[in-house]
Amino acid sequence: MSDVILQLEHITKSFDGKMILDDFNLEIGRNEFVTLLGPSGCGKSTILRIIGGFVRPDKGRVLFEGHDITMLPPEKRNVNTVFQKYSLFPHMSVADNIAFGLKLKKKSSSYIRDKIAYALRLVNLEGYDDRDPLSLSGGQQQRVAIARAIVNEPKVLLLDEPLGALDLKLRHEMQRELIKIKKEVGITFLYVTHDQEEALMMSDRIIVMNKGIIQQAGDSKSIYDEPQNAFVADFIGESNIIDGIMVKDLLVNIQGVDFPCVDTGFGENNPVDVVIRPEDLEIVPQGQGYLTGQVISVIFKGAYYEIKVKVDNYEWMIQSVDPAPVGGFVGLTIDPDNIQIMHKPVRDDEEVARDE
């Protein structure tokens, strides 16, 4: 990342004695799509509010293109926010909402007119100029909010769970559209969400957070395939997370059975967390495979079956294109590549705390 637009340095913030952010550091590159992902209360929105200027950090600095903007009020910052609850001005028409920032900047009326037309086209709301924002649907309101922010040509657009209040179908549609808009306007997006699917689909880089601390940062693929701790593994996608013992390099013991794996460097006979994605487990006839267990439920999910197999006291979750007979005994096998080994958490910040 050669061209850094935004830097957060040692940001610390607490509310009412409760630590929200603890020595938080982040660099965001120009034109990047960065997503802060984490459960509610993990501090992700606070970071956005600090960058937007609505919250002052207790400690630390915010640098925008190398200049310290920590103490700058929101109206003097070259960033704009798309709020979760849209926050459209109810007493103004759609066009007046979009023109709000431009009028404050004393732009010419022809410039403003062009910008409104451009922004409405960008968000697929041509002809909505004179509508009352409260008469629009949630998705349309959010489009107006995006248009209102984008016409100001901010260098960074902050999006605070902008799709959180929309239904699933609309959300998918808006995700694609946001990517399109991002490409079109070519500015930096800092996106906050608790929806992992959304994060994986849209982002260049994902910052997984919990309890004010970065758990893992990386692109979608690395976050999904190589979670660095149980929290990330649990939060990103569905996973089987089970205790294991690293017998030695390339060999892990799970439920009393030794599995070959590809990880090294965990020492010998150390307790570890093992993560196995449900789609990586394979059901084989009883007696074959590493583990044997009883099928306790099979649910058809459209594209695949979700099968639960009980081995000792642990219920493995398996996604498979073929069903299995409930009550029957089956074997489970897995490719060594797909076993993800992680250190046990040493701090309680990293503990699995998924609240949705």
Binding site: G52, G53, F54, P73, P74, E75, K76, V79, N80, T81, F83, K85, S87, L88, F89, P90, H91, F100, G101, L104, K105, R148, A149, N152
Partner: protein
């Protein structure tokens, strides 16, 4: 479904007693006052009772003075209320009921006594002048002047302006203010473009609650005007209590009512969309 229909059909009858009450004690009394206003003592139809508000120079003067006081009082109340509500908001006193408590509390001391206390404060050898002379200033002469009546009116009706404005401003979602700042508005612009327009319903109900009573009061002018300065309320009161001329008194009342309703018509339009706002 059937059950549901039975319910919706039955419920309007609950408003029966209230409807009867309105007819008996709101509508019929108005008809009676109109009857008194439109007929003279001998039962002949006349408009002179109503026209008396303009035809006599004393009445004209009182009406004009009432309008001046009401307009001035309303304007001062607005000008004092907005900064107060914004200051309370800024001080973070907004979410506690405490600031409301402070504003409502004085209304619990009898208002005639409070106006009387203003007489003691404002009189020529009163408390205000005592303070001024002790501090080395010239004493002021405002007892029995329109200024005194204005101070008393503003004092008495200020809470009725503060409360609805307070309520409507506190209802404004903080997100909207943040959104405006995010788009580059400073505090002043936020006030002009967001807070002021969104508090209009409160402002309008404040105007109704201040303008009408300050125009028609007769106690404040009685006490602080020294009996010489008369509002239209004083004239009407005297027609009933001193001259015993009920027809003229009713005529003046009806004229006043029409004037008030006319001047309030523009505020009704705004609140007519079924959204009746309340004070607290």
């Amino acid at each position: 479904m059937n059950e549901n229909e039975v319910r919706t059909n039955k419920r309007p009858f609950l408003s029966g007693p209230y409807f009867i009450w309105i007819i008996a004690f709101t509508v019929l009394p108005l008809i009676v006052i109109f009857r008194y206003a439109l007929f003279d003592g001998n039962g002949h139809f006349t408009l002179s009772n109503i026209a008396a508000i303009f035809s006599s120079s004393i009445n004209r003067k009182a009406l004009w003075f009432s309008l001046e006081i009401a307009l001035g009082c309303t304007a001062f109340c607005i000008l004092l209320s907005y900064p107060l509500v914004m200051a309370l908001k800024h001080l973070g006193l907004s979410k506690r009921g405490f600031s409301l408590f402070i504003i409502i509390l004085p209304m619990w001391m009898n208002f005639i006594l409070r106006i009387l206390a203003w007489q003691m404060i404002l009189s020529n050898n009163g408390i205000l002048n005592l303070l001024l002379t002790t501090l080395g200033f010239e004493p002021v002469r405002i007892a029995n002047t329109p200024t005194a009546i204005m101070i008393g009116s503003v004092y008495d009706y200020l809470p009725y302006m503060i409360l609805p404005i307070y309520t409507s401003i506190m209802e404004i979602n903080e997100d909207l203010i943040e959104a405006a700042k995010d788009l580059g508005a400073n505090s002043f612009t936020v006030f002009c473009k967001i807070i002021l327009p969104l508090s209009l319903p409160g402002l309008l109900s404040g105007i109704v609650m201040v303008f009408v009573p300050s125009m028609t009061s007769f106690v404040i002018s009685d006490i602080l005007g020294g009996g010489k300065l008369q509002l239209i309320g004083n004239i009407i009161e005297q027609e009933f209590m001193i001259s015993n001329n009920w027809h003229v008194g009713s005529g003046l009342s009806v004229a006043l009512m029409i004037l008030v309703l006319l001047s309030m018509a523009f505020t009704r339009k705004r609140t007519a969309d079924g959204k009746e706002s309340l004070v607290w």
